[in-house]
């Protein structure tokens, strides 16, 4: 079973390209501080401008779609392999893709949050117009659900995806949120568990119960995100994937009690890593990748990430093709391309989240063998990391959240948000 992240390798031992990526001021990718004052007006205008619902998909057919040689790809910042060549940022796997297929990729790091990005493309989707993107990376959750529910995604034709069939890990096929991978193929996946600062705790933390331990009153960080109630349900022995409204209320009661007892320092929207490093909190709910990177990028940082004994909350970011895409064949060709284990290995070496292609591990080891010294140690650390290549037992221990309909999501929010926000 997976316990903690591998011993942190010192920065000098890491692959230089890895360090370049890791030491960038990477914003907490899962965090969101919606400072989109300008977006607000747009959202209102969008909301009002289109009071009629429409979904114009259905006209589309894979049999008539043709390759165009162009791909507009929307992704999150620093979420793909990249290098700096002559002062310019280049993406090796994208360049390789263009070389192999002749498809030019217009790669844009425009997604800062699922909801804010959805807000940008929603007016066009509603109007039945192209969004300007052929491929986008969206986390499993309410936004992805809405996109599927309103036919705002192009269903995939799996005859284009032989690599997916052959190389996708078992836990990435037929996920609960998208049965049969009708619309999505995983980009990367990650765990939400707990992290702690060993200088501030009495020995190792292993259980979610520590988040509720009065011993750490005022030193516990929780997230202002749906990860929190899902982990609390795991603490209460409830499977979040089958939880009912009554279960949600039990979780809410536990959270309210925890809050009223003064145990929670804060419901972090972001920056919980700083809080852990600065000693503001001793224990916090945390994303696996954030802790891995925090330890690599800041010297002296020795935070521990733990998969709690009660289980861990899992999320997956997914590639999907928005409805009315202008270059769907190019998009699905790329989807197939990233499931090539050689390509997935290059990406995993940079991204450090969980890759959906377990077979890429041998190429990471191969790359490690091809180099020596510090590069080798860095690459081996990735190949050995249970956070990049978890085994079947780890996955058996991981739980997705339940697929919520818009009305269920409203109920969910009305139960949990007053707790995070007050």
């Amino acid at each position: 079973m997976m316990s903690e992240k591998p011993e942190s390798t010192s920065a000098e031992q890491m692959d230089p390209s890895l360090i370049r990526g890791l030491t960038m001021p990477r914003m907490s990718r899962r965090g969101f501080l919606g400072l989109a004052g300008a977006g607000l007006l747009g959202a209102v205008a969008a909301a009002c401008g289109s009071s009629s619902s429409s979904s114009s998909s259905g006209k589309f057919s894979w049999s008539t779609a043709k390759k165009t040689g162009q791909l507009d790809f929307a992704n999150w910042p620093l979420y793909i392999d990249q290098e700096t060549v002559n002062g310019k940022t280049v993406y090796p796997t994208l360049q390789q893709f263009t070389k192999e297929t002749g498809i030019k990729v217009n790669y844009q790091e425009v997604i800062q949050g699922n909801t804010s990005f959805f807000g940008k493309i929603e007016p066009n989707l509603k109007a039945g117009k192209p969004t300007g993107y052929d491929l986008m990376v969206i986390s499993n959750g309410p936004i992805l659900n809405s996109l599927m529910l309103y036919n705002w995604l192009t269903p995939l034709d799996h005859s284009y995806l032989p690599n997916f069939a052959k190389y996708a890990g078992a836990s990435y096929k037929d996920p609960t949120y998208d049965p049969g991978n009708k619309y999505t193929a995983a980009w990367q996946s990650g765990f939400t568990g707990i992290a702690y600062n060993p200088k501030l705790t009495d020995g190792p933390i292993t259980s979610l119960a520590s988040l509720f331990d009065p011993k750490y009153a005022g030193k516990v960080g929780m997230l202002n995100a749906e990860d929190t109630p899902n982990l609390v349900m795991l603490y209460l022995g409830i499977d979040p994937n089958t939880a009912t409204e009554a279960d949600w209320k039990k979780a809410a009661a536990a959270m309210t009690k925890q809050k009223n007892e003064g145990i929670v320092r804060k419901y972090y929207q972001q920056n919980y890593i700083n809080a852990l490093e600065n000693g503001d909190v001793a224990i916090s709910i945390a994303y696996s990748g954030d802790i891995f990177q925090a330890n690599q990028s800041s010297k002296g940082s020795d935070l521990k990430f733990v998969v709690p004994t009660e289980g861990v909350y899992r999320w997956t970011d997914n590639m999907c093709i928005p409805a009315n895409s202008l270059h769907p064949v190019d998009a699905i060709t790329y989807m197939n391309y990233v499931y090539n284990p050689r390509v997935a290995a290059t990406m995993a070496e940079y991204i450090n989240y969980m890759t959906p292609v377990p077979a890429s591990k041998q190429y990471v080891i191969q790359d490690a063998d091809a180099t020596s010294g510090s590069n080798k140690a860095g690459l081996l650390a990735i190949a050995d990391s249970p956070l990049v290549y978890p085994d079947a037992a780890d996955f058996a221990h991981a739980y997705y959240g339940r697929n919520l309909s818009p009305s269920e999501y409203a109920t969910w929010n009305s139960i949990f948000q007053p707790i995070y926000q007050a």
Partner: protein
């Protein structure tokens, strides 16, 4: 007695018959005035009235993002705003008021000193005050998070010499939020006050002194009253933006410091419950408007209430 349209009302002065040329000129003037009002009026209509109308319609609608919003005259969003998020509204106004008062107490003496004793270096002093504001507010607020951290550079030494107990913390308290708000708002208070003080004719102060006013009395009875337009404007600027601010709370606050700005933000961008977010925004706006009207009536200068000059 009935008054018909033709009956001249007693006492009313009949307008004198105008020479045609004069009348033409008057009409022309009227057109000029209308013409001058068009750009501003259009601006207002486009960027103020239209969004507000949109917000009102949205707040009374039901539906969801996928199906669209339909005007159903549902008022429950408004009642829910108050019942579910009363404490957050209250926090916003408490923090906003506290930050405004502190910012005023800090800014007035500083502005006074610069205006009266700044001499040739006035602009340099103002620049020094404004300099930090060339850096994004977000970054400055996050810096405070580092400075005030429980084991940060400020608290660690004080705890080491046992001036403060080990579990003492500033972050995640209302004081941190008020401090952050004040810090962010000081220039908006200082600049209008400085402008008002700068305009005061120095001979008034001399005259007060000639009439045996002490220095303090001259300030209290001459300078302070003459600078009220600046104070009034500064307080309005600071109070309104401090009440709506949520960045400081998100970064510096903790449990029990939630503010309404953040609730509105997450209703828009997390829940996509646009009607509820619109209702919350309107409630906030109306509450602010009422307070501002009361404030103007009580303390406002004629200047801002549409009166004459000062």
């Amino acid at each position: 007695m009935t008054i018909t349209a033709e009956t001249p009302i007693s006492g009313e002065v009949q307008p004198p018959k105008l020479h045609p040329a004069v009348r033409r000129r008057r009409i022309k003037q009227r057109f000029t005035i209308v013409g001058l009002l068009v750009p501003g009026g259009a601006w207002l209509a486009l960027f103020f009235i239209a969004p507000i109308a949109t917000l009102v319609i949205l707040s009374l609608s039901t539906g969801n993002v996928g199906l669209g919003w339909h005007l159903t005259y549902t008022w429950s969003n408004f009642s829910q705003s108050i019942t579910s998020y009363g404490p957050e509204f209250l926090h916003s106004f408490e923090f906003g008021t506290a930050a405004t008062i502190v910012a005023l107490l800090v800014s007035y003496p500083a502005a006074y000193w610069i205006a009266f004793y700044g001499g040739q270096r006035k602009t340099s002093y103002l620049l020094v005050i404004l300099l930090p504001f060339y850096v994004s507010q977000l970054i400055r607020t996050i810096s405070w998070q580092f400075i005030l951290a429980d084991q940060g550079i400020f608290l660690t030494p004080l705890k080491a010499i046992h001036l403060l107990p080990q579990n003492f913390h500033i972050l995640a308290t209302p004081w941190a939020v008020i401090g952050g708000l004040t810090y962010a708002q000081v220039p908006y208070m200082l600049l209008p006050i400085f402008a008002a003080l700068e305009r005061i004719d120095r001979s008034y102060v001399e005259a007060a002194k000639d009439l045996y006013a002490s220095k303090w009395e001259a300030v209290r009875r001459v300078v302070l009253p003459l600078s009220t337009p600046g104070i009034f404007a500064g307080v309005l600027l600071v109070f309104i933006s401090a009440v709506g601010d949520y960045v400081n709370e998100v970064i510096l606050g903790g449990t029990g410091t939630g503010v309404i700005g953040n609730v509105i933000n997450s209703q828009f961008f997390v829940n996509m419950n646009y009607p509820f977010a619109a209702a919350l925004s309107l409630v906030l706006m109306v509450a602010l408007l009422i307070l501002v009207i009361i404030y103007s009536r009580a303390l406002g200068t004629e200047d801002l209430m549409g009166g004459g000059t000062y």
